[in-house]
Subunit: 213 residues, 2 copies
């Protein structure tokens, strides 16, 4: 479980808790940017450098990994809600957001190293998955479910939403892993979604409306 | 460029070169399994532990990274040629092979750590991509090209084979990255390929033959 430190701290009546959180998170980011490795990062050092007590840091985060997860959350943009223009456009926006996040991670050595570190521990990855990836998957799942409900997607898609999400989100992340140079392509999201829809639309002769042309 | 040490060494007239290569590679695997980190692994130590001269190791591998790439190549199975029964079956076998390799990497901490290490350096990853991934991609590309040539796939697929490969190979590797627990599914490859083919077959009313039903 990841602690959400702000509210807890506030409930205990400590003012300036948001400022303390921010100071600690900024300190971690600074230390990592300056070259401190994850192994060398200690709660003690972070507290000292942030100018707060060690106990204050430990009250907010049970350990280094919980702190790192909050640092990542602070760096990553929250998922955007779909604009709701059309299924195709919403899907493209969703895949385009994945492409942009992935490009940002490639260009930012700090982000990249933090993610590699998360992958080195199944427990840590699981927590990152729950706090950072699940909300995005949920947005995508809702989009696909609505598509099925409105008859724009085959009904079977609702029976295995996990696979449907992997089919549409997988190509960008796969490309990011094995051919990062091919990610700099502004038409990628559109082409993936159009391909996906070609296999995902009802196959019973029903043709999609003009806005999905 | 990765050196392929065997043939070069043989040409220079050194007998037992394959045995020396094997001894060095086995030594690296043993040291890593015993907990030596990549950073602590040195050519000197590998040579000493393998019972060969340092110069012998350096003649075969210019450095630690070249040696690591050969260690990975020795551990990974070479790509299998498609059986040629049908496009659908060959694609399923190809995706199933990716799933098995991915599961093997998850279960083998050594393999997993080696791959994380490769990802930490763009140059090293590029070399791994060329030596280990390109041959597999080429097999998959030939499969798709043949499908287009025989009219089983839409002609546009040949125009962007990279995207077509990402569409069919991406879901497994994406799932391996974010939801490794969902990879233990024997029907996954088949479901991905059937979904892929639904969008990849010619859309001009031509129906696929019974063997692709």
């Amino acid at each position: 479980m990841t602690q959400t430190p702000g509210p807890t701290a506030a409930r205990r009546g400590r003012p300036r808790s948001a400022a303390v959180d921010r100071a600690v998170i900024d300190t971690v980011l600074r230390l990592l940017t300056e070259g401190t490795s994850f192994a060398d990062l200690s709660m003690e050092n972070v507290a000292r450098q942030a100018g707060v007590g060690k106990a204050t840091v430990y009250r907010r985060w049970p350990g280094k990994d919980a702190l790192l997860l909050d640092v990542l959350a602070a760096v990553e943009a929250p998922p955007a809600e779909p604009a709701g223009h059309s299924l195709r456009e919403d899907l493209i926006a969703s895949i385009e957001a994945i492409r942009h996040r992935t490009l940002a991670k490639q260009e930012n050595a700090l982000l990249r190293n933090m993610l590699l570190h998360l992958h080195s521990s199944p427990e840590l990855w699981q927590r990152y998955y729950e706090t950072a990836i699940v909300p995005r998957r949920r947005t995508l799942a809702r989009l696909l479910e609505r598509g099925v409900a409105e008859g724009e997607l085959r009904p079977e898609i609702a029976e295995d939403l996990e696979l449907a999400m992997d089919m549409v989100a997988g190509p960008v992340l796969y490309r990011a892993t094995i051919r990062p140079d091919l990610l700099q392509d502004d038409t990628l999201a559109e082409r993936i979604v159009d391909w996906f829809l070609q296999g995902a639309r009802p196959q019973d002769g029903k043709t999609p409306g003009p806005r999905y042309a």
